[in-house]
C-alpha cells in the first residue's frame, strides 16, 4: 500500500510538472494546441555535404581553392522570405545578385581553411503573403520532378554544348518543330502550349535529336524554353519547391515553364494546359543551370528539408535571435536542425507505443512476440501502410516458421539456427520484392530498410516462441502481436498524437506517470475474468 501511495504521489508530481509546462507554453507563447491549422509559413533548410575526394576528376587544378555557388530562393508573388541565415564555418560567404536583383540570387562560398567543416547550411523562413489563398497540395506537379538530377554533375561537358549551340545546331529539326507548333497557334502562349505537348512525345525523332544534341535529355521544360527562345519568344525555366502541410519532409526541386506576356511572366500548368502567374511553388532560381556550381570540390550532396510552421513562429524566433525569453521553448526540439527533427518526431512516439503495450499487457493480458516488438512493428506499419504491413507480417512470420521446422530436422544448434532463419527470411523478402516489381506491383517494400529489418527480426521472436511454448501459443501470440501493432499504429499515425508529442514533449511526463500507475495496478487482467469463469460459477453455486 505504502509503495502504491508513493507511486501515485510520484505520478501526480510528474503530471503536475508536465501539465504546468504544457499550460505555460500554451498561454505564454501561443504554441498552437492543434495540428493542421492553416499553415502560412515554412522552415526551409538546405544542407550541402562536401566530400572532397582527392582522386576525383578535378584533382588536376590543385591551386584553386574550393568555391561553391549556390542558388538561393527568391521572394515571389506568393511567398516572401522572412528571415534567412547561413552556417558556413571555414568558408567565406557573399550573396550576389545577377542582373540587378531582378534575376537570381547566388550565395558564393569560398573555402578559407582546408580542414573546414564538411557541411554548409542555408535556412530560411518562408511566409505566404497575406490575402493569398492556401494552394491545393493535391494538384499534380507541374513540370518535371528532378529527383537526383539536380545533384551537381561536374563531369558534364558544358563546352561541347556551347559548341553544339554555335555550330552543330540541328536547325532543320528545330524549324520543323516550330513550324508545326506555330500552325495551330494564335499567340505566344498557345505556341508555348503546343511546343510543350510536342516535346513530351518521346518517340519523335526530331525531339530525340535536339535533346541529344543539346544535352537536354532530362528536362522537357528546358527543351521548350530553348525552342521558344529560338522563336524569339521570351521564356524561362523556373526552379522551385512545393511547400506542403506534411510534417518535416525532404523535398526535390521542380521545374516549370514561364513565358513573358506583356510585363508579366506566366507559368504553364501541363495538367489543365493553362497559363497563370506561378503561385504554387517557392521560386528558387530561373534558368537551366544547376542549383550548385562548384570549383575544387567534386562531390557535393544537397538535401532540402521543409517543415511547416506548426509552432507559430517559435522556430523563427529561435533562429532569428538565437534565444527566446522562454527557456522551455529555447531548449526544445525546435532548436534542432530540421533533419534531426525528423528523427525526434518518430522517437517521441516510442514512449506512447510503450505505454499502450504496458496497458495491453498488464490490464488486458494480451500475449505478444517479445514485449516491445509490437511497437517497432507499428512504426514499420507507419511506413508500409497497414494494408501492406499486415499481409507482409503474416507472410514473413509463416516463411520463418517453415524454415524453422525444416532446420529443426537438421538438428542445428539454436543460435546458428536463428541466424539461418533470419538469412532465409531476408532472401525470401528480397525475392518477393523483385518478383512483385517485375509484375509492376509495388508493395511499398522499397520504402525503407527499417520495416523489413523489423519484420525479419520478429521471426526470431516467433521461432523462439514456437520452441518454448508450441504452435497454439505461437498463433495466439502472433494474433496478439498484430492486434497490439494495429492499435499502436492507429495511435502513432494520429496527427494530434504526433503534434503533441513533438511540440509538447513535456506531455511525455504524463505518459511516464500513467506508466507508473499501470506498474502498480494490482487489479485483474481482462483475460483473468475468462480464466476464472468456471471457478466463479462454482463459487456462486456454493453460495446459492
Amino acid at each position: 500500500m505504502n509503495r502504491t501511495f508513493r507511486a501515485v504521489l510520484l505520478a501526480l508530481f510528474l503530471t503536475a510538472i508536465g501539465l504546468s509546462i504544457f499550460i505555460h507554453k500554451l498561454t505564454a507563447s501561443s504554441v498552437p494546441l492543434f495540428p493542421n491549422q492553416a499553415y502560412n509559413s515554412w522552415y526551409v533548410e538546405a544542407k550541402l555535404s562536401l566530400k572532397s575526394d582527392e582522386l576525383g576528376l578535378e584533382s588536376d587544378n590543385e591551386e584553386t581553392s574550393t568555391t561553391i555557388k549556390f542558388h538561393l530562393p527568391r521572394p515571389s508573388q506568393r511567398y516572401e522570405i522572412v528571415k534567412e541565415n547561413f552556417v558556413n564555418e571555414g568558408f567565406d560567404r557573399k550573396v550576389e545578385y545577377i542582373n540587378n536583383s531582378k534575376d537570381n540570387r547566388i550565395a558564393v562560398f569560398t573555402q578559407q581553411e582546408t580542414d573546414s567543416n564538411e557541411f554548409l547550411f542555408y535556412r530560411a523562413i518562408i511566409q505566404r503573403k497575406e490575402g493569398v489563398a492556401p494552394g491545393s497540395e493535391e494538384v499534380p506537379i507541374s513540370g518535371r520532378r528532378l529527383v537526383d538530377k539536380q545533384l551537381v554533375r561536374f563531369g558534364e561537358n558544358t563546352e561541347r554544348v556551347k559548341d553544339n549551340l554555335n555550330e552543330n545546331l540541328p536547325t532543320a529539326e528545330i524549324n520543323a518543330l516550330l513550324n508545326k507548333a506555330a500552325k495551330n497557334s494564335s499567340d505566344r502562349l498557345s505556341l508555348a502550349r503546343n511546343l510543350y505537348q510536342i516535346a513530351l512525345r518521346p518517340e519523335d525523332i526530331r525531339i530525340q535529336a535536339i535533346r541529344r544534341n543539346l544535352r537536354k535529355e532530362d528536362s522537357t521544360v528546358e527543351l521548350v524554353v530553348f525552342l521558344l527562345n529560338r522563336a524569339n519568344v521570351p521564356a524561362r525555366v523556373g526552379n522551385g519547391i512545393l511547400l506542403r502541410s506534411q510534417e518535416v519532409y525532404s523535398t526535390d526541386f521542380i521545374q516549370w515553364l514561364e513565358v513573358q506576356q506583356g510585363d508579366r511572366w506566366l507559368a504553364f500548368d501541363p495538367v489543365n494546359l493553362s497559363f497563370s502567374e506561378q503561385n504554387r511553388y517557392l521560386t528558387w532560381w530561373y534558368g537551366s543551370d544547376r542549383v550548385i556550381q562548384a570549383e575544387g570540390a567534386n562531390n557535393i550532396a544537397l538535401e532540402v528539408v521543409v517543415q511547416p510552421n506548426t509552432d507559430d513562429g517559435l522556430t523563427r524566433t529561435i533562429w532569428r535571435r538565437g534565444s527566446v525569453p522562454n527557456p522551455f521553448l529555447e531548449y526544445s526540439f525546435l532548436r534542432l536542425p530540421l533533419s534531426s527533427q525528423r528523427v525526434f518526431q518518430i522517437l517521441v512516439l516510442i514512449p506512447i507505443g510503450a505505454l499502450i503495450i504496458s496497458i495491453l499487457h498488464q490490464m488486458i493480458g494480451l500475449q505478444t512476440f517479445g514485449t516491445f516488438t509490437p511497437i517497432l512493428i507499428s512504426l514499420a506499419f507507419r511506413q508500409t501502410g497497414i494494408f501492406v504491413g499486415i499481409p507482409l507480417f503474416v507472410f514473413v512470420v509463416i516463411i520463418g516458421l517453415l524454415f524453422r521446422s525444416y532446420l529443426n530436422r537438421l538438428q542445428l544448434l539454436i543460435v546458428p539456427r536463428l541466424a539461418a532463419i533470419l538469412t532465409a527470411t531476408v532472401l525470401v523478402i528480397g525475392a518477393l520484392a523483385i518478383l512483385l516489381e517485375s509484375l509492376d506491383i509495388s508493395l511499398g517494400l522499397s520504402v525503407s530498410l527499417f520495416p523489413i529489418v523489423i519484420l525479419a527480426m520478429t521471426i526470431e521472436r516467433a521461432a523462439m516462441r514456437w520452441e518454448e511454448a508450441g504452435p497454439a501459443d505461437t498463433i495466439i501470440a502472433g494474433i496478439g502481436t498484430i492486434v497490439a501493432a494495429v492499435i499502436g499504429y492507429f495511435c502513432l499515425i494520429n496527427p494530434y498524437v504526433e503534434h503533441w508529442a513533438f511540440v509538447f514533449p513535456e506531455l511525455l511526463l504524463l505518459v511516464l506517470a500513467l506508466n507508473i500507475l499501470v506498474g502498480r495496478y494490482n487489479g485483474y487482467k481482462l483475460i483473468e475474468y475468462f480464466r476464472f469463469r468456471s471457478l466463479q460459477r462454482q463459487l456462486r453455486q456454493t453460495e446459492g
Binding site: I414, N522, Y524, R531, F532, S534, L539
Partner: protein
C-alpha cells in the same frame, strides 16, 4: 473502488500476486536458488529435505559424450535443464536398450537424438531468458502405485503454496496425453485440489474446466488419499521457512520406495491452484498474515494450516 465478482471471492490475479505477495516477500537475489535446480538441491540437502539422486551434471558441449558413462549403472534416468521452467526440456528414460533410450511413452530415442537434446539444453533453449544452461541427469522417480489409476505416463506431483512458511493451498498435478506426460496445467495437465488438513483429493480441472474423472483413464479423481501427507506438508513448510521466500510453490513427487522427494521450488507459482481447490487464495493468505505473529516454529505453522484450511465436505 470498483469491486469485481472475482475480488469478492478473494481470487488472486496475476498482478496482485506480483505486487502484493511476490515483490514484497520474495527478495530478488534469491530467485537464482529457485530458478536453478542444482541450487535448489543444495539448499534442500542442507535443511534435510530429500531430493532425487543426481547421477551427473553436463555443463559443456564436450562433456555430452560422457552421457553413456554417467548412466551406465542405471536402467532409468531423467535428463532435465537446470534452469528449465514448466517441465520443458525434461526427458524421462525408462530403459536403456541396445537400440537406444526408451522413453516413458515407449518410443525409442537414438543416442544421437538424446545428445542433440542435451546440446539444446546447454545452448539455453529451455532456460529462462535463454542463457546457457546445464543438464542434470538424475534418478527417475518410480511413482507411487496410488496414482496408477489417475496418471498417464509422466510423473504426477504435489504442488503446495507456502506463505511465510505456512502451507496455504495444495494441488495434485497429473500428466495427460495432452500435456505430453508433463504435470503442467498450462500444457493441459490435470490439477486436483487437495484438502490441506487430510490430504484427500477434491475436484479436478483441465484447461480451467472442471472434470470428475481423469481424461485418459476415466477413473474418478475425487476422494483419494495422498500418502505421506504429513511429511509432504512438513517438507513444504520447512522449505518455505528456510529458503527466505515469503511466497513459494513447492513441487514434491512421491516415490514408491523413497517416499516424498523435492522436485523443484517455484518463486512464481501459478494461480490455477485456486480453480482446482474452488477457493480464492486471498482469504487464506490474509488469515496467515493475521496469525503469523502468534505462530512460532514449523510445527505451529503446520498445525495452524491443517486446522484452518480444512475443507468442509458437503
Amino acid at each position: 473502488m470498483l469491486t469485481s465478482p472475482l475480488q469478492s471471492y478473494g481470487i488472486l490475479g496475476i498482478n496482485a500476486r506480483n505486487l502484493d505477495y511476490l515483490f514484497p516477500t520474495n527478495p530478488r537475489r534469491l530467485y537464482r536458488s529457485a530458478d536453478s535446480k542444482l541450487e535448489t538441491k543444495k539448499i534442500a540437502q542442507s535443511i534435510g529435505v530429500p531430493t532425487p539422486e543426481t547421477y551427473g551434471v553436463i555443463s559443456f558441449q564436450n562433456e555430452v559424450k560422457q552421457l553413456a558413462k554417467i548412466v551406465r549403472q542405471h536402467q532409468s534416468f531423467v535428463v532435465k535443464p537446470a534452469q528449465g521452467s514448466g517441465g520443458d526440456g525434461i526427458v524421462v528414460i525408462k530403459e536403456v536398450t541396445d537400440k537406444g533410450y526408451r522413453k516413458a511413452s515407449g518410443s525409442i530415442l537414438e543416442p544421437g537424438d538424446l545428445q542433440y537434446h542435451i546440446y539444446n539444453i546447454l545452448s539455453g533453449m529451455f532456460s529462462l531468458g535463454g542463457q546457457t544452461d546445464r543438464a542434470i541427469i538424475e534418478y527417475a522417480v518410480q511413482f507411487d502405485p496410488v496414482f496408477d489409476e489417475i496418471a498417464y505416463q509422466g510423473v504426477p506431483d504435489v504442488r503446495v503454496i507456502v506463505y511465510h512458511g505456512v502451507p496455504a493451498m495444495a494441488m495434485l498435478r497429473l500428466p495427460t496425453r495432452a500435456s505430453d506426460g508433463k504435470a503442467n496445467l498450462h500444457r493441459g495437465g490435470v490439477g486436483v485440489g487437495i484438502d490441506l488438513s487430510t490430504g484427500m483429493t477434491l475436484a479436478g480441472i483441465q484447461k480451467n474446466r472442471y472434470i470428475d474423472n481423469h481424461p485418459e483413464t476415466s477413473k474418478p479423481l475425487r476422494d483419494r488419499q495422498i500418502p505421506h501427507w504429513q511429511s509432504i506438508v512438513e517438507m513444504a513448510a520447512k522449505l518455505g521457512d528456510k529458503t527466505g521466500f515469503g511466497y513459494l510453490g513447492v513441487d514434491i513427487v512421491l516415490d514408491r520406495e523413497k517416499g516424498p522427494l523435492l522436485l523443484e521450488i517455484n518463486a512464481r507459482p501459478g494461480l490455477s491452484i485456486q480453480i482446482a481447490n474452488r477457493e480464492g487464495l486471498i482469504p487464506r493468505l490474509e488469515a496467515i498474515d493475521a496469525a503469523l505473529p502468534k505462530l512460532s516454529g514449523i510445527g505451529d505453522k503446520i498445525i495452524f494450516a491443517r486446522e484452518k484450511f480444512a475443507v468442509n465436505n458437503f
